[in-house]
């Protein structure tokens, strides 16, 4: 049973074609890592999955709902799909607690006390329960990113998308964020992760994909991907990055 299915997805920015026909499927509970050189369309692709970008051709079906222009569908899918950004994008005017409870209260229509309880649980899960009353500006980058993960999880999504969650972080903070993601993967969450952290890919991913110039050039198990790549482009990419 695949929870995400895309068929020949194409996307243009003006004249420039960023996605040149991507077809793939993700099964429930699977962890998929996407890597590839800069500008290859990785971000564009996963942003199409929750419609932060609009694809022009092809078909994207998430959890049985096809992505069309119907606003109802889009909001329904967005509350099923959590997203974590490279630049955290926390709401700076709200405390950590308010950041996490905002969507459950307003979108999921839960009571405040229930949402706050749940938020505390999530903060404990990502390891920063003591920061609940602080503002994002008072936290380190790693802590902010973990709050962002908790905020996405508070909506109880079925799928989590990560767009280079560690590339804006100092090396010593990368591990704490990766640990939180690892724990999430072990709990059975469906995840699509765009990252250059090859260690994470090797250890956690069920499948690894390589994007290049708007195309998916390789799709493989982590072991095969790193040790025995099919495509020359993958070999070149790995030689540059490792």
């Amino acid at each position: 049973m695949s929870i995400i299915k895309t068929v020949d997805v194409k996307k243009w920015f003006g004249d420039f074609q960023a996605l040149k026909g991507i077809s793939m499927e993700v099964a429930e509970g699977e962890v998929l890592v996407i890597c590839g050189p800069s500008g290859s369309g990785k971000s564009t692709f996963i942003r199409c999955i929750n419609r932060l970008e609009q694809h022009q051709e092809g078909e994207i079906v998430v959890d049985g709902i096809e992505l069309t222009n119907d606003l109802k569908n889009i909001e329904a899918i967005r509350s099923e799909v959590g997203m974590v950004f490279q630049s955290f994008n926390l709401f700076p005017h709200l405390t950590v607690m308010q950041n996490i409870t905002l969507a459950p209260i307003w979108v999921r229509k839960k009571s405040r006390s229930e949402s706050e309880e749940k938020a505390m649980e999530l903060l404990e899960r990502v390891g920063i329960p003591e920061q609940a009353q602080k503002f994002p500006g008072q936290l380190s980058g790693g802590q902010q990113q973990r709050v962002a993960i908790a905020r996405a999880l508070a909506m109880e999504p079925k799928i989590m998308l990560f767009d280079e969650p560690t590339s804006a972080l100092d090396p010593e903070m990368i591990k704490e964020v990766l640990d939180a993601m690892k724990e999430l993967a072990e709990s059975g969450m469906t995840m699509i992760v765009v990252t250059h952290e090859m260690g994470f890919a090797k250890e956690v991913a069920d499948r690894v994909m390589l994007f290049d110039e708007g195309l998916m050039v390789e799709e493989n198990t982590p072991n095969e991907f790193f040790d025995n790549p099919k495509n020359d482009r993958t070999k070149l990419f790995l030689s540059q990055i490792l």
Partner: protein, 607 residues
């Protein structure tokens, strides 16, 4: 070198002087130059104020005129009650929001030391003589501060300075709550009304002016009301503290709402002829609020109901047509206005009333705005109180205050709406909003004022006649609203794209995204600009003098200098100007200080 002497290196004061005033030869020059300028102007000002030519009674005697123009004496109780309402609310909020900050006895002494030192320096530097120009053009030198008077002030203040200098360092554990200390200061000011004498006027039986008796308390008409108000304020301070300790959460919402409604209430209180026309209230206002309230409640309640949702578009369209029809029909204005409000509710409720909490809040907002609207329209279109020969009873500082507060109140939501409209993706709305903003901004305020005074009536629906003040208010709202809109738009543009994306990614609808994520951040970034423009509109309100309203400046420059009764104040311009500058300065200074604190508090979440 003196700079390297022991005093300038080891003594902390000496070091401060060395580092800040004489850090280099050019800064030493600037220090001397600026010091000379300051002392020179200070002596000039003192000479001006104490000059026997000045007649300061023309200010103090006319204080009531300055504050509230020719407001009838028998109705003054309303004014006092209004001030009392504000003070009581103030006391309540000070008690409820008391941050628990404390100041030590040493800290208090430090402040007193500074104050007495400043007094000592000022009196020491004050000039002994000043020049008086005689009728024949010759200049006579007059003594204004005799040596013994100077000594009489200088001596005690020096003693106090010394005393506080040493008391400053006392290590007393006692800490005082700053809020309570400030209330005490305020109490001392009011207590001083019993003792300090401001020269005022008394006339003997033949109408001749008597030089005031220095031992009679002066503020004889005001010290009793002030005392009562102060006691009320104290009382509510303690009630506020009690509520805070009991941790009564609802107050945190009630107090801001009360602050918001308080000026509206005061306004109608001071402005309307009968306080309430019970007939209209019972036969028209209450039923209409009830009916509309219930309709609104039903709309909110069923707004996210699936079966209703299907018919949303036809319902909205039907309602739009209906409200246009209502607006064209010859109905009471208040009914039309409420219908439009209802339409607005119908449009926004599906977006906001998606949760229990949202529903409740929207309902509260709905009922409150119904009340406010009814109240405002009733208040605005009812008769004013007594009309004096000047054609208006409302003027002076009350008018300035009214224009500033209501200008801000009305223009802020208007500006927000215009800004959002201008950034909207719907072309019709965008063009309309851009048009309003650009037209309003491209015409000078004074021109708009003339428009308000002579032309606005033409544009208002038939049967509505607003008082000139109300017309000016409507215009001011639009004028500052257009400026606010541009500031807010700037704020909106400063919000990074990532914030929109994050809000989208957690499934928010456009309304939630705008009002929970984008607008709060946008407003926060432009608070300094907004404060600046509120101050500007406070000062600009003086311009209404041009169209015949009596604001505080006009009273000072043309009413008082023309007074011949009961004492001749003819030509007393200078005193009024000095007083007015001081008055405006105090207000804007306090206001900008407060807002700086406010900014700091909000700045906590700065990224």
């Amino acid at each position: 070198m003196i700079r390297d002497s022991k005093f300038f290196i080891e003594n902390p004061y000496g070091r401060w002087v060395r580092d800040n005033l004489f850090s280099s030869s050019s800064s030493a020059f600037l220090t001397f130059f600026a010091g000379f300028m300051v002392i020179y102007s200070y002596r000039g000002i003192v000479g001006f104020i104490l000059n026997p030519e000045r007649m300061w009674t023309s200010v103090t005697y006319n204080m009531k005129l300055y504050m509230i123009l020719a407001y009838p004496d028998e109705a003054m109780i309303r004014v006092w009650l209004s001030v009392g309402l504000a003070l009581i609310l103030g006391g309540l909020s000070i008690g409820f929001y008391n941050s628990g900050k404390t100041i030590s006895l040493g800290g208090i002494f430090q402040k007193l030391f500074t104050i007495s030192a400043v007094i000592a320096i000022l009196i020491a530097l004050a000039p002994t003589n000043t020049n008086v120009i005689q009728n024949d053009g010759s200049i006579e030198v007059v003594e204004i501060i005799p040596q013994d008077v100077r000594m009489l002030i200088l001596g005690p203040s020096l003693v106090l300075t010394l005393a506080f200098f040493f008391l400053r360092n006392v290590k007393i554990k006692n800490l005082f709550n700053t809020a309570k200390v400030n209330l005490t200061y305020f109490g001392l000011i009011i207590a001083s009304l019993y003792f300090i004498k401001i020269p005022t006027i008394s006339l003997d039986s033949s109408g001749e002016r008597i030089i005031p008796d220095p031992f009679l308390p002066i503020a004889s008409t005001t010290y009793i009301p002030w005392t009562i108000l102060y006691v009320g304020m104290l009382l509510f301070f303690f009630i506020g503290s009690l509520l805070k300790n009991r941790d009564i959460k609802i107050m945190a919402r009630l107090i801001p709402i009360s602050w918001f409604l308080c000026p509206l209430f005061i306004f109608s209180w001071i402005f309307k002829k009968p306080l309430v026309e019970l007939n209209t209230v019972f036969s028209a206002d209450i039923p209409s609020i009830l009916v509309f309230g219930i309709i609104g409640f039903l709309i909110i309640r069923f707004s996210d109901n699936e079966s209703v949702g299907v018919y949303r578009t036809p319902i909205n369209i039907g309602f739009l047509i209906l409200s246009v029809v209502v607006f064209l029909l010859p109905l009471v204005f208040i009914f039309k206005a409420t219908m439009v409000l209802l339409l607005l509710l119908l449009v926004v409720s599906p977006a906001i009333a998606t949760t229990k909490e949202g529903k409740r809040q929207l309902f509260i907002v709905w009922v409150v705005s119904l009340f406010v609207l009814t109240f405002l329209i009733r208040g605005a279109s009812s008769d004013t109180m007594l009309v004096t020969p000047t054609g208006s009873i409302f003027g002076g500082f009350s008018l300035t205050w009214l224009l500033a507060i209501f200008g801000t109140y009305a223009s802020f939501p208007l500006g927000l709406a215009l800004a959002l409209g201008r950034t909207s993706t719907l072309p019709v709305i965008r063009i309309i909003c851009t048009g309003i903003i650009e037209i309003v901004r491209s015409v000078p305020y004074i021109t708009w004022l003339f428009f308000a005074s002579v032309m606005l009536t033409v544009f208002l629906p038939a049967g509505v006649e607003f008082n000139l003040i109300i017309r000016v208010l409507i215009l001011t709202a639009f004028f500052s609203g257009a400026y606010f809109a541009e500031y807010i738009r700037g704020g909106l543009q400063s919000i990074p794209k990532g914030q929109y994306e994050a809000a989208n990614a957690i499934g928010m609808n456009p309304f939630q995204r705008i009002f929970l994520v984008i607008v709060p951040q946008a407003l926060r970034t432009i608070i300094p600009t907004l404060v600046g423009s509120v101050i500007t509109s406070f000062k600009d309100s003086s311009l209404v003098a041009i169209i015949g309203l009596f604001d505080i400046l006009r009273i000072g420059t043309s009413v008082i200098p023309a007074q011949s009764q009961p004492v001749v104040f003819i030509g007393r311009n200078l005193e009024q100007l000095v007083f007015l500058s001081f008055f405006f300065w105090v207000f804007t200074f306090v206001f900008s200080r407060r807002s700086m604190k406010f900014e700091k508090r909000l700045g906590l979440g700065e990224r």
